[in-house]
């Protein structure tokens, strides 16, 4: 039997960590873009747009991410569409992330005083201009801590994609365990790596929160 040093194990896990990071980034950036679109729909003046965004958000928040991954991977396969694991994983995570970010941001936008909308409307601004120049700059500051905080969930959420065969950190952990028969060492390291990714995010969220709250200034 081949002996594996701890370094061998760690090296392989770190290589797979690249995919976890990449998938997290894609989910977060893609989810942010889709989430912004959903946000605009969610607070639109059109009833149909609002309803669409509302049901979308309810659907994706109300079902387990795991089911969404299964449906993206196997479901589309039923229609003869061959979806590679990385695509299904990326897609499901983007859509899932978007539903949460849209709702987080909606809360931030709605926390801006009504007078800000009224004042900017009275000056002749259209809805998009109000959002772009008055509401979002203020909402953004409120949104930073919860958004960064949610990014931790995204990183951990990528672990689920191992189920559909995408080789990221968790999947690599399973593979390496099967080869080395050292589950405690391997999963211990896997957990440590996740922690190393998530802890700075949580911490920065806390720091940002404190910074933005204590100052309590809007500029």
């Amino acid at each position: 039997m081949i002996e594996f040093s701890t370094w061998d194990i760690l090296r392989n896990l770190l290589l797979a960590t690249r995919w976890t990071i990449l998938l997290s980034l894609v989910s977060f950036v893609g989810g942010g873009a889709v989430g912004l679109l959903l946000l605009f729909l969610r607070i639109s003046k059109r009833k149909a747009a609002r309803a669409f965004a509302k049901y979308y958000i309810e659907l994706f928040q109300g079902t387990p991410l795991l089911m969404q991954l299964f449906l993206a991977f196997f479901g589309l396969g039923l229609f003869g569409v061959d979806v590679p694991a990385w695509l299904a994983a990326g897609m499901a995570l983007v859509l899932w992330t978007a539903s949460f970010l849209a709702e987080i941001w909606r809360g931030c936008v709605e926390s801006i005083a009504r007078g800000q909308w009224e004042a900017s409307a009275s000056l002749g601004m259209g809805r998009l201009q109000q959002m772009r120049y008055v509401i979002l700059p203020q909402a953004l500051k409120i949104a930073v801590p919860p958004t960064v905080g949610f990014s931790v969930q995204v990183v951990k959420g990528t672990a689920l994609t191992s189920i559909i065969g995408f080789v990221e950190l968790s999947k690599a952990g399973t593979v390496v365990t099967n080869a080395t028969f050292q589950p405690f060492t391997v999963y211990g390291l896997v957990a440590l790596i996740y922690f190393a990714l998530c802890w700075p995010l949580s911490k920065s969220s806390q720091i940002l929160e404190r910074k933005l709250n204590v100052a309590h200034r809007n500029h």
Partner: protein
């Protein structure tokens, strides 16, 4: 033709009718004070004029711009009437100068240098030229309200709506804001103001509108309205018996 024509407007929230058929024509340069108890519909009336509230019936036009509830018509209307609020509603993330410049650059597409020149001029006009770079939370209430006035003026409106603009101010700060309004009136600006400053209304306004239960209950020049209130409601409101 009057500058502002308000014809038979009605406004309901559900089954609660807050404006019950209001008619009011305002001539250019007139200063109108709208007085009345809270809940009499005076703020609602003001907010209907620039479309912040949608009217259920009737029509409003300002210098030929009809109040129609779509973005294009509302914008045209709102370029003609500015509004100043009780709570100032300055944009807290922008400096005083930035507040006055924003709508010029965004709505009118004025070049930045020109917008800045206008902003400095308008801030000077309300006595705050030196506060160009101050953020709203560094200003007193009275100063914030004067910045709000400068912000509205920068759009060169032909009329201004003032919604209880001194009600959120400490008594000592009221005078500085009213002084600015008085000056605007003297320069011929058309003003519609909901106010509790009776003395100011008496001194500056050309007509006083007393609203009661969603209707214009009494209207006339201030000497008449204040000295000879005809209806018992106005007598009670003014505290004369």
């Amino acid at each position: 033709m009057s500058l502002i024509e308000i014809t038979e407007i009605r406004k309901s929230y559900g089954t609660n009718e807050v404006l019950k058929g209001i008619n009011l024509d305002v001539e250019p340069g007139e200063v109108i004070a709208i007085i009345g108890k809270s809940g009499s519909g005076k703020s609602t009336l003001l907010r209907c004029i620039n479309g912040l509230e949608t009217i259920t019936q009737g029509s409003i036009s300002v210098a030929g711009a009809q109040l129609i509830d779509d973005e294009l018509h509302l914008k045209a209307l709102r370029l003609k009437v500015g509004m100043i609020f009780q709570q100032f509603n300055l944009f807290p993330h922008l400096t005083a100068g930035g507040n006055v410049m924003l709508s010029q650059t965004v709505v009118k597409k004025t070049a930045k240098a020109e917008a800045e020149a206008v902003a400095r001029k308008m801030l000077d006009r309300v006595g705050l030229g030196h506060k160009f770079d101050a953020y709203p939370d560094e200003l007193s209430g009275g100063q914030q309200q004067r910045v709000a006035i400068a912000r509205a003026l920068a759009m060169q409106p032909i009329a201004l709506l003032c919604d209880e603009i001194t009600s959120a101010l400490d008594p000592e700060l009221v005078a500085e804001v009213l002084a600015v309004v008085r000056e605007l009136a003297a320069e011929g600006m058309t003003l519609l103001m909901v106010t509790h400053e009776m003395r100011f209304a008496r001194d500056v306004c050309s007509r006083v509108v007393f609203m009661h239960q969603g209707r214009v209950h009494e209207i006339g020049p201030p000497e008449e309205v204040f000295a000879n209130p005809k209806t018992p409601e106005l007598q009670q409101f003014l505290g004369v018996h």
